[in-house]
Assembly symmetry: C2
Homo-oligomer: 337 residues x 2
């Protein structure tokens, strides 16, 4: 065990696209633990759109990261030493932590990952820690898709979107995914079983959607907001649902972003738009993990991770989320568990 701790700290709030000066990468001492605490060695760091929200001081669902504090992230790590009877050396934990080699674990924010069976820890972390339950509860609890209904998902080749579409197929829906490259469109239709894929970078989304959804849209799972949300609103069926998981198209904007121009369709078609944050469902995670695990075992849900080595590259990789350069769940590997 090295005696140097590498820590990413937030130095300024981002304005517009992420720049290198928002975070700094520091060498610091490894923290010591007190009674009730435990020390975690970082194995994997999850990179997610919400990182960008936490860096800013916009209104958000938990306090933003304070300036000069370590950057917050969803992490998976190994307990190295413990003065907390619930956590023992060698336990694999996941939850909210910071971008650092070593950190004091917060027992309120971290859970033991448990036995992952034949599944590598990185896969279990990538799918079960957050994105799987996000897809599961957002689609099923908020979206409530019924058999034969049309489900559209944006960010469809992303970590959440790709699972949303596959769950919708399991539920017997007509599933249309919107993604940003031919490779992604091929993947979601040929490998994941989506019925139609729309490449928003090369196609007229409104026209392609109208063609792909001859019976209108019953559920639009929104990861992006912006013009794609507008195109979907135009096609919503009466009593349609728009579970809203993210609005990434606006996260890097420095000016106020207008809401959808077709907002009035929500009224005309009696649509329900509902935001959700997956941590609200924490008590029900075991349900989602059990179902997702079963479907993955049956080959009905496939996932892919986009794993990159080196904590020192985390900020560079985070930027990929906003250009769509990642292919699957973006993970930084520091040291395999």
């Amino acid at each position: 065990m090295s005696d140097v701790n590498r820590v990413w700290r937030l130095r300024k709030r981002p304005v517009g696209d992420l720049t290198d000066d928002v975070l700094s990468f520091e060498k610091e001492a490894i923290p010591t633990i007190e009674d009730g605490q435990f020390l975690v060695r970082l194995n994997y760091l999850s990179l997610d759109p919400t990182n960008r929200i936490w860096m800013s001081d916009q209104d958000q669902y938990m306090p933003p990261v304070e300036l000069n504090a370590p950057m917050r992230g969803l992490i998976c790590g190994t307990v190295k030493s413990s003065k907390n009877s619930d956590f023992s050396e060698g336990d694999i934990v996941s939850g909210l932590g910071v971008w650092a080699d070593y950190q004091v674990g917060n027992p309120q924010m971290m859970n033991k990952l448990g036995d992952t069976g034949p599944m590598p820890v990185v896969d279990a972390f990538a799918t079960f820690a957050l994105v799987g339950p996000t897809a599961y509860f957002g689609l099923l609890d908020i979206g409530q898709p019924q058999e034969k209904e049309t489900v559209v998902v944006s960010g469809a080749a992303g970590a959440v979107g790709s699972i949303v579409g596959q769950i919708a197929k399991i539920k017997g829906c007509h599933v249309v995914g919107i993604a940003g490259s031919e490779e992604k469109c091929d993947w979601i239709t040929k490998d994941l079983g989506f019925d139609v894929a729309i490449n928003y970078k090369t196609e007229n989304v409104a026209e392609s959607l109208a063609k792909a959804c001859p019976n209108g849209i019953d559920v639009y799972f929104d990861n992006v907001g912006g013009s794609i949300l507008d195109a979907c609103l135009k096609l919503m069926n009466i009593k349609g649902r728009i579970p809203t998981c993210g609005l990434i198209s606006g996260y890097n904007e420095s000016e106020p972003v207008p809401g959808p121009y077709n907002y009035g369709m929500m009224l005309m078609q009696r649509v329900r738009i509902e935001g959700f944050i997956v941590t609200d469902y924490a008590p029900r995670f075991p349900e989602a993990i059990a179902e997702l695990g079963k479907w993955m075992g049956e080959g009905k849900i496939k996932v892919r991770q986009d794993v990159h080595d080196g904590l020192e590259n985390a900020l560079e990789h985070l930027k990929m989320l906003f250009t769509g350069a990642n292919k699957g769940k973006l993970i930084v590997r520091v040291e395999d568990a």
Copy 2:
């Protein structure tokens, strides 16, 4: 019975503010009825924001009025002759009809008003035909206010909003109304029992709202959209609800209207935004009418009508809705029932 029928016909689709040339007022022959039909003499015509929607060809919840067709409206009238065994001469009916002295009643679109007891027909029509059920189902079914929660309503001195606020008081809520004159603000607080009124024409709505809602907003009943919606979104509590009844601030706009700039608060605060059209609740109208009637009898709900004589003035009066010049439910009286 005169042998001249006066009919308002839609001549062009409005662009921006309502102008005199969108409708024309014609003298025509009284229609004749065939088997299964009945002839209705107009008593009262309801003027509502939705009239403006029906004149346009924007996406909407029923087909727009066709060019050169009689203008559609919510009417109350008396059956003058009938070849339909369900309707007899002298029956008072209400429902969807047209802006004309005489019209063929559509049995699918009209119901008998029934015995209104000591209540004048105009009052029963004004409250029970549409606005009362709109307030009732929108607030209770979609908004689901709980005791001690904060309910904000815009268009608070309007036909729907004034009833929404009073129902919310009956349910034990802290009720804040947003209206457009001192007279309206006085009326809703002193006569109707709202806790706070905000005059959006003279006050900074965001500041006044923050002061009036120290515990945030749990339910925002939206009649207007626009900047007031934005101000409310900023204050929504986690799991807040925004039943959406109207977006009148945008109806007279000729350019596309952006959605709320604070749309992202819906995600951060896990808010449910849901549009509704009261006619979807038609099978449950008796429930609303029974409850509203009881509350009115107990003096817990007060209503006021703004009744104007003369079918020939209908278009002029409709414009009042968009400047807020009306005081209460806007009704054109042609001949008392």
